[in-house]
């Protein structure tokens, strides 16, 4: 069984300009969304208090909202979390509140007024400085990772490919951030981990294509650059699709069965892998081509061995 069985290389590069245009439009859209409505940062980044409580019956959110407003938390955000009996309460940072005590106070307010027993599932409090640092550290991790990859690919392959790979990664990250901004999904620590994992996954994909590209350049001596790239992408297409498929399978399981805490993680990776598969075909290779990669750049450096061998008797 084989998904694709092409006798001729598919002409992927025919669509390189429309594809690049589409990517640029998507990037502009993502940036616009991030600037206009921003990212819905989770507790890990903004600071504040999150309380998850379990009830024995279906929760009446309106009543709980009123109770908390009465207890001095009119700005509390209350929502169901995972099931109709789990409730997530967010209390934003406020200078007049002693945040470290909010969790207990809210729980007391609820147990006092609700007839049914309330069980505390988790309380998380994050101070303002911690969240700010996490944003900086996370951004730093991403930059360092991209820079490391830029260097490694430049050394192992060629600088044009390196630029293509890193731009493709940046493309994947920005579009995923854009998705979280457009849909206003919560961006928490697990989503950050997912985006960093996405960088790892997506570079994997791109390197496989590049590796084949290098081989094709050396093998197909009379082909044009376009033809060579098409050949490399076509011959790795089966692998690209199958690996994405198995990973997506597993992520779907995580998405549906992993519980509410891991939802953001699965969402980010599902979207990111779709984008990453597309970008390793179109963005990375197309950019390398636009930058003017040629067969000569990919040939092994003239080896000293040949000269020595000819001198041997």
């Amino acid at each position: 069984m084989q998904i694709f069985n092409f006798s001729q290389p598919v002409n992927f590069m025919r669509l390189k300009w429309p594809a690049l245009l589409l990517s640029v439009l998507l990037l502009i859209g993502s940036a616009a969304s991030m600037f206009s409505q921003g990212i819905n940062w989770g507790l890990d980044f903004t600071g504040g208090t999150v309380i998850e409580v379990g009830l024995s019956e279906t929760a009446d959110l309106t009543a709980m909202r009123q109770m908390l407003a009465g207890a001095g938390y009119p700005d509390a955000v209350i929502q169901l979390f995972g099931s109709s009996k789990d409730v997530l309460i967010r209390i934003p940072l406020r200078p007049d509140l002693e945040q470290a005590k909010v969790g207990q106070a809210v729980l007391q307010a609820l147990t006092g007024e609700l007839a049914e027993p309330v069980s505390l599932r988790r309380v998380e409090f994050v101070g303002p400085s911690v969240g700010e640092e996490l944003k900086q550290d996370g951004g730093m991790a991403m930059l360092v990772a991209l820079l490391g990859i830029l260097l490694y690919v430049a050394v192992r392959f060629e600088w044009r490919l390196s630029v293509g790979a890193v731009l493709a990664l940046g493309h994947d990250v920005i579009l995923t951030l854009g998705l979280f901004s457009v849909l206003q999904l919560e961006f928490d620590l697990t989503v950050l981990a997912a985006i960093l994992a996405l960088i790892g996954y997506s570079i994997n994909d791109t390197i496989v294509v590049f590796d084949r590209l290098r081989e094709s350049f050396r093998k197909l001596r009379d082909a044009t650059v376009d033809e060579t790239i098409n050949h490399a992408i076509t011959s790795t297409l089966n692998r690209t699709v199958i690996t994405s498929l198995t990973t997506v399978l597993v992520l779907l399981v995580l998405f549906f069965m992993g519980g509410a805490l891991i939802h953001g993680f699965a969402t980010a990776l599902l979207f990111g892998i779709a984008i990453g598969t597309y970008s390793s075909v179109y963005v990375a290779s197309a950019i390398a081509e636009v930058l003017g990669i040629s067969r000569e750049d990919m040939l092994p450096p003239p080896e000293q061995d040949d000269a020595e061998i000819s001198e041997l008797p």
Binding site: V123, S129, A197
Partner: protein
Amino acid sequence: MLNKNPAWRYLVVIAMLLICMLYALPNLYPEDPALNISAARGAVVAEHSVVELEQAFAKADIAVKSVQLLDGKVLARFASAEQQLQARDLAKNVLGSNYITALSLAPATPDWLAAIGATPMKLGLDLRGGVHFLLAVDMQAALDKHLTDLVSRFRTDLRQAQIRYLSVNAGPALAQVVIKFRQADDMHAAVLLLSGQDRELLLTESQDKLSLQVSLSEQRQREIRNYALEQNITILRNRVNEIGVAEPVVQRHGADRIVVQLPGVQDTVLAKEILSATATLEFRLVDTDSDLAAALAGQLPVNAELYYHNDGTPLLLDKRVLLTGDHITDATSGYDEYSQPKVSIKLDTAGGSLMSDASKDVVGRRLASVFIEYKPGSELNADGTSVLVKQQEVINDATIQMRLGRDFDITGLSSPAEAQHLASLLRAGALIAPIQIIEERTIGPSLGKENIELGISAIQWGLVAVLLFMVVYYKAFGLVANIALGANLILMIGIMSMIPGATLTLPGMAGIVLTVGMAVDANVLIFERIREELAEGRSVQQAIHQGYDRAFATIADSNITTLLVALILFGVGTGPVKGFAITLAIGIITSIFTAVVGSRLLVNLIWGGRRLQSLPL
């Protein structure tokens, strides 16, 4: 013949798998609800405590799995959590208040596995429930306290050297004291005096020669910060041990932060109270004239109070407090000129003059150090918080040999360990830099359990989906890939259990699931390559050989970049992100191994070295 491997290669791979399997085994055994009982303040846990407990449990009909004495602690295992709770109350009654009883989960690793050092994976707080605190030490307060002391020291020193000054004040800049003079000559004299005193002070003269800036060197500031941090960590460790938590973590985190993790603790209010409890220290003279026996019988002398040593011996102390602990600026253990253990105490300027005044007429009498702590007790205030109970004990008493000043030593200690312990208690009683909770995460036990169950079922179903897909798509070769995937999981879990620092967290479990999806990648690359080689008309054996060889370069390149990302994640990330990075990195390495080495050996064993017309691929 192509694609034949020597037997030793198979043996090496099988041996590696078996070892990892052995170390992964403890994870299959469920944990027992258990009690950890350790001794506090002078009490000792010994065989008789074990017997006492066993009898008490038998009387109350509590089924005990085992009661053992391990490293000076009693570990009692129970069949259920209810019995564990009953047993805790019982143990508290039987043994009294000098013992600390902690609830815990003890791994039920069989002895033969424990003997080779195999232990289950450590679970993060998000999987086992508990409290996590991140505390920030107020370094500004620590520096300010030091500067205030410096100001009063300069005033005294200048006065004693008869140098006239206008004012000595802290600030305006950070870590700086400014001394103002009326005449340039005075400043000159002051510079001479101060520069000889302390090399860590940087002196800057002003243009008009009338004011002198004294700032603390970077080195000194770093020392002050480190001291404030270490002091807090020592105190927190002592307190956490007193709460009775099994496997607590108190760790330095960066330049001015402390992480405290208390697995299994649910009552954050109590935990916070204990963490923020204050300790002080008092120096008092020992009253040897009054009648101790009468005092013990209830007839206290007018000007003395009854105290107890930490080993339980009673003694009478003067009511008057010579000095309080907030004047202590440092206490370190070391050796005197006769190589006997000692503790050196440094006081601030005010403390030094108090001590010198107080001790000049009492040379020859004994001086006791009393350690005082306020801890939450069992009674409750009206607002539901615990009433703080004052606990005090004499940690040392020594004869005053001469008039004491700002620096003095306590000698005559029995061992270097005692000196260290005393120094740490003295530091704990000194004024400490305040700490503030800047992050708190409490995970209820039910949520932790749920997270584990969700994680395991996600791994199972993810695995099933991938296994099915591979068999359908690659047929017999798919089976080989599946065996490699199974081996990969065993290797991963085995290695995670072997590394002592590796902790499994929820994102870590997500990392395992993701690795399952990505681990087949290497095999997919290889199989696709073999198909291509076959399509180009190579013989079956050639195709297998070339397929593995050519795919290897690609696999190596692509995985090294991913590994790079995992390492960066580990370096920059904290807590959960680190946990994820560890699983990802281990998963990458094991998946390369199982695909490149493991699956190749298997393929060669089945199809290698034979004349075949086609492959079941």
